[in-house]
C-alpha cells in the first residue's frame, strides 16, 4: 500500500447524504463518500445495494432527491454525463455503453477526435487507438465495428476510452466482470500508474481478490445505505463479507463443494456428444462429451472460442461441420428451438442484448423460455406464473420491488439471476451457462453455484463457462481447456490445479 491512503489530503470528490428513490425502492438513503486524490477506492456491496445508482447520481445520469456533490470543495450538480466529463469525472458504466455500429477506434475517440484542418484525422485516430489498445495487449483491427468483437473486448474498449480523458476522477463500475486474470492484471497496472499521477479512482467489483489487490480504501454499502468506510489494510476478508451481508456467514473459503463429491464416475453416461463441431471463423473442429449429471467446466482465455462453442451446441449459430448426438441419437439444430426441444438451455453472457427483455416484468422474463417451450396456445395460468416467479425470486434471492417490476430497473446482478431462473424453470437436461456469475456478489455467487450443483446431483448436466479460473476449478467435475478456438485438453477433477491450466493455456499443444 502506498502511504498516500493514510494521509488524507482534501478529498477531490465528496458526496454528502445522497438519497435517491425509484418507484417502490429507496435505492440510496443518505449515502456519503469521500474520494481522495491518488487513491483507489473500492465500492462493495451485494447486488442491488445501490452502487451503480450512486455512480449514476454522481455522474449526472440521475438527479439525487437529496444530498450534495462537492468537487474540490465546490458544490456541483452535473446534469449529464457530458457535464460530469467536463468537471473531470470519467466513467465506465456497468452495462457497456458504446455504439455497436461504430468502429472500435471511433468508440474510443468519439467526442474528442484528433483533427486536421478542421476535419477528423482518421489515420491518426486509427494509429492512436491501436496503440492505446496495444498497451492493454489487445491487438485487433480497430477499424472494424465494435459489434464485431465479443463483450470482453468491448469492455476493454470502454476502459480505454475512459483512460483517454485527462480526468481528475475515474469511475469504473464492474469493469472486470467479463475479463480474465491476464486482462485484470493489465488493467490494474494501468490503474496503479494513474494512481501515482494523483488520480482518484472509484472502483466497483464483486471479486474480493481484486479488491485487495488494488484498493487503498473500501466503502461498503448495504441496502442503499453506507455501512462504513475502511482502509483496505485494516479489514479482513471475512469482516468485509460480513459487513456487506450484514450477518455472520461463511466466506468463499468454504468447504469443497458437496456436489463434486457426490458425482460418481459410475453414473457417467454421455448425454451430449459433439464430434468435429466447427464453424468458419469461429471454431475449429472440436469434440465434446457431456455426461449426465456432470458439471463440465470450459476454461480458456478471452476469445478462445468458448462462447462460440456454446452457441453452436445451442443452435444459436449454425455449425458448418460436425455432428451433435443427444442420448446417442444424432440431431441437427437449426435454431435454439430445436436445442430447447432436446432439453438444452443456454444462458448467454451478454445479458443486455441476448438475455433480458428490458421492458417486460421479472415474471414475464422468468417464464419466457418455459412458455416458449409449451407453445403459444397453452398459456401458463397467471397464478402459476406468479407462483413460479415468487418461488425463484426467493430461491435465488433476487432483489426486486415486486415480480411485476420491469427487469430493466433491477440491478445488474439481479437481472442476471432472473435470466438464470428463466432456464431453471424449464428444468433442462443440459444447461449451458456462459459466465452466469458475471456481476453477481460473493455470497450470491456461492448460493447460485450451490444451487446449480444440487441440480447436477439430481441428474442435470451443466456446461459451465467462466473467466474465473478458480471458480471453474472449484465446481467442475471435469474441465475442458480451450485455446485458439479449439479444445486444448481435458482434465478430470483433481487432476488439475490453476497452474496446470494456465500452463495448458499458455503452452497449448504440447500439453494437449
Amino acid at each position: 500500500m502506498t502511504m498516500i491512503s493514510s494521509a488524507p489530503a482534501a478529498p477531490v470528490l465528496e458526496l454528502r447524504g445522497i438519497s435517491k428513490a425509484f418507484t417502490g425502492v429507496q435505492a440510496l438513503n443518505g449515502v456519503s463518500l469521500n474520494l481522495f486524490p491518488g487513491e483507489v477506492h473500492t465500492l462493495m456491496g451485494q447486488n442491488g445495494a445501490g452502487k451503480s445508482t450512486l455512480i449514476k447520481v454522481l455522474t449526472g445520469v440521475y438527479a439525487p432527491d437529496h444530498g450534495q456533490i462537492l468537487l474540490a470543495g465546490q458544490a456541483i450538480q452535473p446534469q449529464s454525463t457530458l457535464d460530469a466529463q467536463n468537471h473531470g469525472i470519467s466513467t465506465v458504466y456497468q452495462e457497456v455503453n458504446l455504439c455497436p455500429n461504430l468502429s472500435v477506434a471511433e468508440n474510443i475517440f468519439i467526442g474528442r477526435y484528433p483533427r486536421k484542418l478542421g476535419r477528423i484525422d482518421w489515420p491518426t485516430m486509427t494509429r492512436q487507438a491501436t496503440a492505446l489498445l496495444e498497451r492493454m495487449q489487445i491487438r485487433i483491427d480497430v477499424t472494424l465495428p465494435l459489434a464485431h468483437y465479443p463483450l470482453a473486448i468491448q469492455q476493454m474498449v470502454a476502459i480505454s476510452r475512459s483512460l483517454l480523458v485527462s480526468a481528475k476522477v475515474l469511475i469504473l463500475d464492474e469493469p472486470t466482470s467479463s475479463l480474465d486474470e491476464k486482462e485484470v492484471d493489465l488493467l490494474f497496472s494501468v490503474l496503479r500508474g494513474l494512481r501515482e499521477q494523483g488520480m482518484a479512482i472509484l472502483f466497483v467489483t464483486h471479486f474480493l481478490d481484486q479488491t485487495y489487490a488494488i484498493s487503498d480504501r473500501i466503502t461498503v454499502m448495504r441496502n442503499g445505505e453506507r455501512e462504513g468506510e475502511y482502509l483496505a489494510a485494516d479489514l479482513s476478508r471475512v469482516e468485509l463479507v460480513n459487513k456487506m451481508v450484514g450477518a455472520q456467514v461463511a466466506t468463499e473459503a468454504a468447504a469443497p463443494l458437496a456436489a463434486a463429491v457426490a458425482a460418481e464416475p459410475s453414473r457417467r453416461q454421455s448425454f451430449l456428444r459433439a464430434v468435429g463441431l466447427s464453424r468458419k471463423g469461429a471454431l475449429l473442429p472440436m469434440d465434446l462429451d457431456i455426461h449426465k449429471g456432470e458439471l463440465l467446466g470450459l476454461a480458456g482465455l478471452l476469445g478462445s472460442g468458448r462462447t462460440e462453442a456454446a452457441r453452436l451446441l445451442f443452435g444459436a449459430d449454425r455449425a458448418d461441420g460436425g455432428t451433435i448426438a443427444i442420448d446417442g441419437k444424432e440431431q441437427s439444430f437449426a435454431s435454439p428451438r430445436d436445442a430447447i426441444a432436446a432439453g438444452i438451455g443456454f444462458c448467454s453472457e451478454d445479458r443486455k442484448h441476448e438475455g433480458a427483455i428490458l421492458e417486460l416484468s421479472v415474471r414475464e422474463n422468468l417464464i419466457l423460455a418455459l412458455q416458449a417451450r409449451m407453445g403459444i396456445m397453452r398459456a401458463i395460468p397467471l397464478k402459476r406464473q406468479q407462483q413460479l416467479a415468487e418461488e425463484y425470486v426467493k430461491a435465488l434471492g433476487i432483489k426486486t420491488a415486486s415480480i411485476e417490476t420491469p427487469i430493466g430497473s433491477l440491478s445488474g446482478g439481479n437481472q442476471q439471476k432472473v435470466l438464470l431462473a428463466r432456464w431453471l424453470v424449464t428444468d433442462p437436461k443440459l444447461l449451458i451457462l456462459d459466465e452466469p456469475t458475471r456481476g453477481i456478489d460473493v455470497r450470491a455467487k456461492q448460493e447460485i453455484m450451490d444451487y446449480v450443483s444440487a441440480l447436477c446431483r439430481n441428474g442435470m448436466s451443466i456446461l459451465f463457462i467462466s473467466s474465473e479460473l478458480p471458480e471453474v476449478l472449484r465446481v467442475s467435475d471435469r474441465v475442458v481447456v480451450m485455446r485458439d478456438r479449439k479444445a486444448g485438453g481435458e482434465y478430470p477433477r483433481g487432476a488439475l490445479d490453476e497452474t496446470t491450466v494456465l500452463h495448458v493455456i499458455a503452452a497449448g499443444d504440447e500439453n494437449a
Partner: protein
C-alpha cells in the same frame, strides 16, 4: 450480437444492380443509354436527391422525417408568393425560404427530443401542417416569372453535346457536402452514434439533444433547398406539389443500403437509391405501352426484384 449486415457491401451491390438495370434498359430500348438520358436522371431527380440527402441523416440517426414533401411544397408556395406578390429580390426570397425550412425542421427536432415524442408522429403532423399552410397562402397554383428563377430553370450547362441543369449541380454539391459532413466532422459521426445507440451516445458524453435538433433542422433545410430547386424546375408554387415524395426519399435511402433502424449506411447511397428509382421510371416511359395500373405493378415488381436480389446477395456475402 453478431455483425450481420455490412453497409459497405450492400452499397456496392446496389451500384452493381443499378448498372445492370441501366444495361438492361439500354438493351431493350434504343436510345436509352444516351448520355442525355442519364443526365436527365439527374436533372429530373435533383430535388429528390437533395431531400434524400437530408433524409439519410435522419434515418442514420434512427429517426424518420415524413414532412419533407410538404415542406418542399410549402417552399415553392412561399417562393412564388414572395416573388409574385411582394416582388422581393430572388436571392432574398431563397434565403428566407431556406431559413424557414430550417426553422421548421429544428422545431420538429426540438419537439422530438425534448418531449421524447416519436419522430414518425411529429413529422406526420408536420406534413399535415406544411401542406395545410400552403392552402392558407393560396389554393391556386402561382406561376413564377421572376427572371432569375426563369434563368435558373432554362439555363442548360453544356457538357459535350449534352447538358445539365444548375439544379442538378446544386444537388450534387449538396450531396458532396453531406458526405463530407457525415464522414469528416464530429457532427456527422455523432449522427451515427445516436443511430447506433442513443442511450450510449448520451452516456459517452455526446450532445445528443443538439445533434438531434440539428439533424431535423438539416433535413428541413434540405427539404427547403429541394423546394427552391423544384421552383426552378416547375416555375410555380403549388400546394399539391410533390405529394408522396417523402416515401420516394425514404425508399431511395433504404435502397441505397441504409438501415431504417439507424446507424448503418452511407449518405452516398442516397444517390444510388435516387438513380435506381429514376431509372425504373425512365424505363417505363421508354417502354410506353404500360397502362396506369401496369405502371404501378411494374414499379412494385422492379422494386421487389431489386430489394430481393440486394438482400440475397448481402446474405451470401456475409456468409463468406
Amino acid at each position: 450480437m453478431k455483425f450481420t449486415s455490412s453497409p459497405y457491401f450492400t452499397s456496392l451491390i446496389t451500384v452493381f444492380l443499378l448498372v445492370v438495370l441501366l444495361g438492361a434498359g439500354g438493351a431493350a430500348y434504343p436510345g436509352f443509354l444516351s448520355v442525355q438520358v442519364l443526365f436527365n436522371l439527374l436533372i429530373d431527380n435533383a430535388f429528390l436527391l437533395v431531400i434524400a440527402v437530408g433524409m439519410s441523416f435522419v434515418i442514420l440517426s434512427g429517426g424518420i422525417d415524413l414532412s419533407v414533401g410538404s415542406v418542399l411544397a410549402l417552399t415553392t408556395m412561399i417562393c412564388a408568393w414572395m416573388l409574385q406578390t411582394w416582388h422581393w429580390p430572388p436571392l432574398l426570397v431563397i434565403a428566407v425560404a431556406l431559413v424557414l425550412g430550417t426553422v421548421f425542421g429544428a422545431a420538429m427536432g426540438a419537439l422530438i427530443h425534448y418531449f421524447k415524442l416519436q419522430p414518425f408522429i411529429v413529422t406526420l403532423a408536420g406534413m399535415f401542417l406544411a401542406r395545410g399552410l400552403c392552402y392558407l397562402i393560396s389554393i391556386n397554383s402561382i406561376t413564377i416569372d421572376d427572371p432569375f428563377f426563369v434563368a435558373m430553370s432554362q439555363t442548360q450547362l453544356p457538357i459535350g453535346d449534352c447538358f445539365l441543369s444548375p439544379g442538378a449541380l446544386i444537388a450534387l454539391a449538396t450531396l458532396a457536402a453531406a458526405i463530407y459532413v457525415a464522414h469528416c466532422t464530429p457532427f456527422g459521426r455523432a449522427i451515427y452514434a445516436v443511430g447506433g445507440n442513443e442511450q450510449s451516445a448520451l452516456m459517452m458524453g455526446l450532445r445528443v439533444a443538439r445533434t438531434k435538433v440539428l439533424i431535423y433542422a438539416f433535413s428541413g433545410f434540405c427539404a427547403a433547398l429541394a423546394g427552391v430547386l423544384f421552383s426552378f424546375y416547375m416555375l410555380s408554387g403549388y400546394g399539391l406539389h410533390a405529394q408522396g415524395t417523402e416515401l420516394d426519399a425514404i425508399a431511395a435511402v433504404v435502397i441505397g443500403g441504409t438501415l431504417l433502424s439507424g446507424g448503418y449506411g452511407y449518405v452516398a447511397g442516397a444517390l444510388t437509391g435516387v438513380l435506381v428509382l429514376g431509372s425504373i421510371q425512365t424505363l417505363i416511359a421508354f417502354d410506353g405501352t404500360l397502362s396506369s395500373w401496369w405502371t404501378k405493378i411494374v414499379i412494385g415488381g422492379l422494386l421487389f426484384v431489386f430489394c430481393v436480389v440486394q438482400r440475397v446477395m448481402t446474405m451470401r456475402g456475409n456468409k463468406k
